[in-house]
């Protein structure tokens, strides 16, 4: 691995640029480099690992039991990448993808990168986006109060800084990660006063058909172990149908609705989780087509068997290509790398197919049983489209569910892009990452249609904010100067 620590150490151009240093990105970059491809891996975090293997090379957590064996497996993936010839730029943000003006017949990309307050545009012949997943937005009244965080945030704090919530902690939501996190935080010494499970009981019926496959899947033993451990030691509350965070200026309690009864639990920290969805901002802004996956209930990029998107030269690997977990992410990263190497002329299609065969077999095994989890942990409708009008759904611009509903019904706004123009939702710094899915859901519900028909925000670079100072100080290429002169 060749570490890039300053923006001017980057080459003018790379054969392949991989975005994101989680299991998919690390595996893709390592495999491509092993095949002799000139590859750069960029990642905005200070250390490799992504979120699942966050800080695996430098975590201050010493007791290996706290994070479990799956976490430490990430060290092997990082080690393989470090042995490769790939270049690695950590703390580096990619903010744009565009066509490369220097390649007249097209086919190449020009990407905008920022590192340590300085920006540059460089070339990439092929791109693999491995930007992973984010937690599904889970808007409840009061979720913007200090003291309310995502469950993943607490896990990141634990992995990267060995800190745990102090005081009374409540975990609420739905999905396998909820049990994992509760177990990890309890093992790390946090005082978890309740785990509030919002999984709709009716989901069990819908998931039953997928159960036989799940029973033969690697998830089963792991899942049962996690659930048994968490349930043994923690207070579980199932069948939760409504939640609200309460407090003045900061969180003081969580209000829990269960069936018809309401209780209040005093707490200092509330951790929310409603499963994870692909982070689509970069692939969307790059012009890749997306479809609504009705089983995982989220937008996913439209990809072929080689994970290539509708934009030739851009592939999407890992959970950004659809939620599959860490093991499948690493495998998909390798498949995408083989395909990119083939397009770059490293080997012929026959060789590529042969190399991919064992990876595809492992992928099938790794994803076995996924459908059961997706159906069982599908969020309840009232958490996808909040019922209470006062619930903020756009944290940046403080737009409420009631405003979106009203604008959809009374003014007849039918799509998220028009909604953006009316209410500014999705126009703050997070660029729709935390309101997009909810806005779509609210419009669909108000108009009696589906998220697939409503569509999603049309996003544009810069995908992450970049300062004017950085743009103004960009080294000028000949093509850029000509563009202005004309």
């Amino acid at each position: 691995m060749k570490a890039v620590t300053a923006i001017d150490q980057l080459a003018e151009s790379y054969d392949l640029v991989v975005v994101g240093a989680g299991p998919a990105g690390l595996s893709a970059a390592a495999r491509a480099a092993e095949l002799g491809v000139n590859v750069l891996l960029v990642d905005e975090n200070p250390a490799p690992g992504g979120q699942i293997y966050r800080a695996v090379t430098m975590t201050p957590v010493t007791d290996r039991n706290v994070l479990g064996t799956d976490y430490w497996r990430g060290a092997e993936i990082v080690a393989r990448f470090e042995r490769s010839q790939a270049s690695y730029a950590g703390s580096c943000t990619l903010w744009s993808i565009g066509p490369d003006a220097a390649v007249p017949e097209g086919g190449g990309f020009e990407i905008g990168l920022s590192l340590d307050g300085r920006a540059r545009l460089i070339g990439a012949r092929q791109l693999i986006l491995a930007t992973g997943a984010q937690e599904r937005p889970f808007p409840i009244p009061g979720w913007t109060l200090p003291g309310v965080m995502t469950a993943g945030a607490a896990q990141i704090a634990l992995k990267s800084a060995a800190i745990v919530p102090a005081g009374r902690t409540v975990i609420a939501g739905c999905g396998p990660l909820l049990y994992l996190l509760a177990g990890q935080l309890a093992a790390a010494g946090a005082e978890i006063v309740a785990v509030l499970d919002t999984t709709p009981r009716s989901n069990w019926l819908k998931a039953a058909a997928a159960l036989p496959n799940f029973l033969r899947s690697p998830y089963l033993a792991k899942g049962l172990r996690l659930m048994a451990k968490a349930r043994r030691s923690l207070r579980f509350v199932g069948g939760v149908t409504g939640l609200a965070a309460e407090g003045a200026g900061k969180l003081a309690a969580v209000r829990v609705e269960r069936g018809g009864s309401i209780t209040t639990i005093a707490c200092d920290t509330l951790l929310l989780h409603q499963g994870v969805i692909p982070g689509v901002n970069l692939s969307n802004a790059a012009g890749c087509a997306h479809d609504f996956d009705t089983v995982q209930h989220c937008w996913v990029p439209r990809l072929d068997d080689w994970l290539t998107s509708s934009v030739p030269g851009i592939a999407v690997a890992g959970d950004g290509a659809g939620i599959g977990g860490a093991e499948s992410a690493a495998l998909r990263g390798e498949v995408a790398a083989l395909s990119a190497a083939h397009r770059l002329g490293r080997f012929d299609a026959r060789e590529r197919d042969r190399e991919a065969e064992p990876l595809r077999a492992k992928l099938v095994r790794a994803l076995h049983g996924r459908r059961f989890l997706d159906l069982l942990y599908r969020p309840a409708p009232q958490f996808l489209a909040p019922r209470q009008d006062e619930t903020i759904i756009c944290r940046c611009e403080e737009v409420t569910a009631g405003q979106v509903r009203d604008t959809a019904t009374r003014l007849g706004v039918t799509g998220p892009n028009q909604m953006k123009a009316f209410l500014r939702c999705g126009m703050g710094p997070c660029q729709g990452r935390l309101c997009g899915p909810t806005v779509v859901e609210l419009i669909a519900e108000a108009n009696g249609t589906t998220p697939a028909e409503v569509g999603y925000y049309r996003l544009r670079p810069p995908v992450k904010p970049v300062t004017l100072a950085e743009l103004a100080a960009l080294p000028q290429s000949e093509a850029a100067v000509k563009a202005v002169v004309r």
């Binding site: 003291g147 995502t150 990141i156 634990l158 800084a161 800190i163 745990v164 982070g279 944290r395 992450k464």
Partner: protein
């Protein structure tokens, strides 16, 4: 608020300030993790209604951890490693031009 785990690996201590208050953090932690570990409850006030906000996602998605670092506003604290002597401040509302030259 957050506290350190028992048996956590010790790191070099770094001095920094938050709104002028002298604090210490661990080398290798991000600005946001250091604030959380020091019991800071909120790090910004929103531009729309001025209410306090605290770090929410810790992975660069939510932008609720925005702070002013060494005079530069709109920094995502969860992506910036803590450095010795950093001057971190609450971001009040939008980033103001004078903060650039702070």
């Amino acid at each position: 608020m957050f506290r350190s785990m028992r048996d956590a690996k010790a790191g070099a201590r770094l001095s920094f300030t938050f709104d002028g208050r002298p604090l210490t953090g661990r080398e290798g932690d991000t600005v946001t993790a250091s604030l959380l570990a020091n019991g800071v409850t909120a790090c910004r006030e929103t531009p729309v209604s001025g209410v306090p906000r605290a770090p929410y996602c810790l992975m660069g998605v939510c932008f609720d951890c925005l702070v002013v670092i060494d005079g530069i506003g709109n920094r995502q604290g969860c992506l910036v490693p803590l450095r010795e002597g950093m001057r971190i401040e609450t971001q009040h509302g939008r980033r103001q031009p004078e903060e650039v030259y702070g």
